[in-house]
């Protein structure tokens, strides 16, 4: 058993247990349903801000975009305005596709050493596909939760809900995004465990968020379809949280513990987020190899801490070699 994922799994189990004991046995619904969520949101927002500013404080001395296409040079050479952007507009387009379509990951190949001695690099899109599916389904699931926080629910959210429950299986109707999300989390986990190289590079901090998100999705699905909770009461609490109008303790205690485990997981994720690799969400926008234009020879980039350095000047050089230079017929500045 690999300690990295064992400990991560254990941590998530313990978290579930804490919430269960806290609510089911100790009746701490106010703590898990109100206090911790508020704290989590504040920690997330403040933490996110601090981390971003921490990065922002570091200077960008050089303009070092990774060029992945023809640069703008001679007018008759077609250049790649997205992968080798010359203008801010090009950079914005590059970042847009990077963030929205995972463009770089889409390039992914898989190297194989073939029996005939040839090394091939085949297109390998599973990682891209599942990574993209993971992020988008997660996003949809978050948006779908708007119905627990808004009243009345604006139309776009209703439409999204309709699309997501389009297949109309069972009651309550199945929302495809939740199960797709669960599937992608499983894929990302299995990939980490199954591929030896990826297993080797994985840290506990790679497994923990996967387990935690799995826990969130699992409890969510479980309480929607199996261990039913009183949805109206749940909404009264969640809506109460964002409109500062909390329901009575009795009502809170009427909601099943599974709901509080779910909420506790989410709170932990929010608290964990800013201090973890999950900050790639904000960090990608600050990646100098992606967010800078490839126009470095046309527009001068300024290094805020550029300092003078010792150089070996021409005068020193000529002093070193003057005689030899004169002898060889090379021009010199000082003839002595």
């Amino acid at each position: 058993m690999n300690v990295k994922y064992f400990y991560s799994f254990l941590a998530v189990l313990v978290l579930a247990l804490i919430a269960w004991v806290g609510c089911d046995l100790l009746g701490l619904q106010v703590l898990f349903g109100v206090i911790l969520p508020y704290i989590a949101v504040v920690v997330f927002l403040v933490g996110f801000f601090l981390r971003m500013m921490d990065w922002a404080r570091s200077t960008v001395p050089f303009q070092i975009p990774t060029t992945a296409g023809q640069a703008k040079s001679l007018p008759w050479i077609k250049f790649n305005a997205i992968d080798s952007p010359f203008t801010t507009g090009g950079v914005v387009a590059r970042m847009f596709f990077e963030v929205v379509t995972f463009r770089s990951l889409f390039r992914n190949t898989r190297m194989r050493v073939n029996p005939d001695g040839r090394i091939s690099y085949d297109i390998e899109l599973w990682l891209w596909l599942f990574a993209l599916a993971f992020h988008y389904t997660f996003f949809v699931v978050i948006l779908r939760h708007a119905r627990f926080f808004l009243e009345p629910l604006p139309l776009p959210f209703e439409i999204l809900e309709k699309i997501d429950t389009f297949v109309q299986i069972g009651q309550p109707v199945i929302s495809m995004s939740s199960f797709a999300l669960l599937g992608t989390v499983l894929f990302l986990f299995v990939r980490r465990v199954y591929l030896p190289n990826i297993r080797m590079i994985s840290l506990a901090s790679d497994f923990f968020p996967l387990f935690l998100i799995f826990g969130i999705v699992f409890t969510g699905i479980f309480m929607r379809y199996f261990a039913k909770i009183d949805v109206t009461a749940a909404k009264e609490l969640t809506y109460g949280l964002v409109s500062f109008n909390l329901p009575s303790l009795a009502k809170m205690q009427g909601i099943g513990s599974i709901f509080y485990i779910h909420v506790f997981f989410v709170s932990v994720l929010l608290v964990y987020f800013p201090w973890s690799k999950l900050m790639h969400m904000g960090g990608i926008f600050l990646s100098p190899t992606r967010n800078m234009a490839n126009n470095t020879r046309a527009v001068r980039h300024v290094n805020p801490w550029n300092y003078p350095v010792n150089v070996h000047t021409y005068e020193e050089y000529e002093d070193d070699f003057r005689e030899k230079m004169i002898e060889a017929g090379l021009p010199v500045d000082k003839k002595e």
Partner: protein, 544 residues
Amino acid sequence: MSDLPKSDELFSHIDHRPPKGKDWMDIPVDIRPGMYCYSANPKSMETLSAPNVRKWNPLEEDWLLPDNWQEILHNGLKERLEKFRSFKVFMDICVRCGACADKCHYFIGTGDPKNMPVLRAELLRSVYRNDFTKAGKILGRLAGARPMTLEVLKEWWYYFFQCSECRRCSVFCPYGIDTAEITIMGRELLNLLGLNIDWIATPVSNCYQTGNHLGIQPHAFKDMLEFFVEDIEEITGVNCTPNYNKKGADILFITPSGDVFADPGTYTCMGYLMLFQFLKDKYGLDVTWSTYASEGGNFGFFTSHETMKRLNAKMYAEAKRLGVKWILGGECGHMWRVIHQYMDTMNGPADHLEVPVNPITGTTFENAASTKMVHITEFTADLIKHGKLDLDPRRNDNLKITFHDSCNPARGMGLLEEPRYVINNVANHFYEMPANTIRENTFCCGSGSGLNAGEDMELRMCGGLPRANAVKYMADKFDVNMLACVCAIDRAALPDLMNYWETGADVTGVHELVGNALILPGEKKRETDLRGEPLPGMEEEADE
């Protein structure tokens, strides 16, 4: 060097599966001869006023470090995290998705898990977490953190000198994490303890003192070019004597000194000389070489940002002293990354120069408006486009050419079409290698970033495997026999590589091909190419 295994033996031993059941932190570093470069010569380090100058041996237990070496590294790390957002962000946002893992030529060629870019970066990240993150301080190893020990330091040294800063991983990383950037910082930190390799330190010292990597003194530099002039005259009957350190010339030309002393770069150098003579005779263009700024390459880039700046300063200084209008740069890889992405920022603004205009075609090089330095393939492509060169591409008909994109022009500059345009106009048989091995996906020659020494030949042959493998494919499929490139390190490294992996291909610079095809005013009928080999097909030509 005799220890270098035969290529098929080496190939059959490459295993990309990591050792079973072992955490990478538990695999001790094994500094293996053939895979590392000798330590820096104290004399060279002294020239550069480097810290902790002493003679040391990487194979020995004691690396003769200062007592407070951990403190030096910690502070150095802290300083760089504040100075380089790239470094700080790259330390934090990797999710270890593994997309980069099989993109590194050193991993493909060695199978060593620590050559996966992600793990190479983790070598440094683990210490960063230990020193600078709360999770690392509290959870330690569980959070992927480990303290800085001598063992870790040796691992850094070994693996940061097994990365050629080629940026291929950066193309595939969803966040653009650039291992080159991490290696650059890693090497800067190592240099704080005087842990450079000699193949970098000595060229840097020579370049600083004498103007070029080999320490060629001004009169000798002139002698070497005169030698080419004689050769050219023998082949073409035209005297191509260049200008040296000429004040008031139109253009200052700077190329890596490798072109001056090492085959087959020398033939490329002859190509430059012929091109400039052609432009002088036909259009009166006045180009000068400099013995002071006689090095385009910049191994300072592989040492530290400061050293890079110190060496690079000569280019603008010499252009200013000579009063030229702008600078033209020869075929070189990392030299062009430095010029394209660093020079203007470090040593600019170059207000003493003019926005580069090709006086023959009238083309303004808008893309170089601020840096005022133009790549020679941009320059030549512009001349060809405007029909300003007299070319006979049939003289290259004995060649079946493929083009190797050098890492830095491809991924640090975006110079992809210009060399291809030139080749297609000076030669008739050009074939592209498979798409996943060229352009932004190009593979390093395996010897970049100062690793083209002799003692690390096994590493170089491993690292060059993906490139050689693709060339071999081209040789089998299209009978390709010439590998063109625009990089001096390529020209120095690829012939060995092509030999070792038995591709049967030779190596050329693009301007050697130009030199062969270029019809000089008043030239005699050529019987050989620049290498002195007969021009096949030319005899038959008369009968047609």
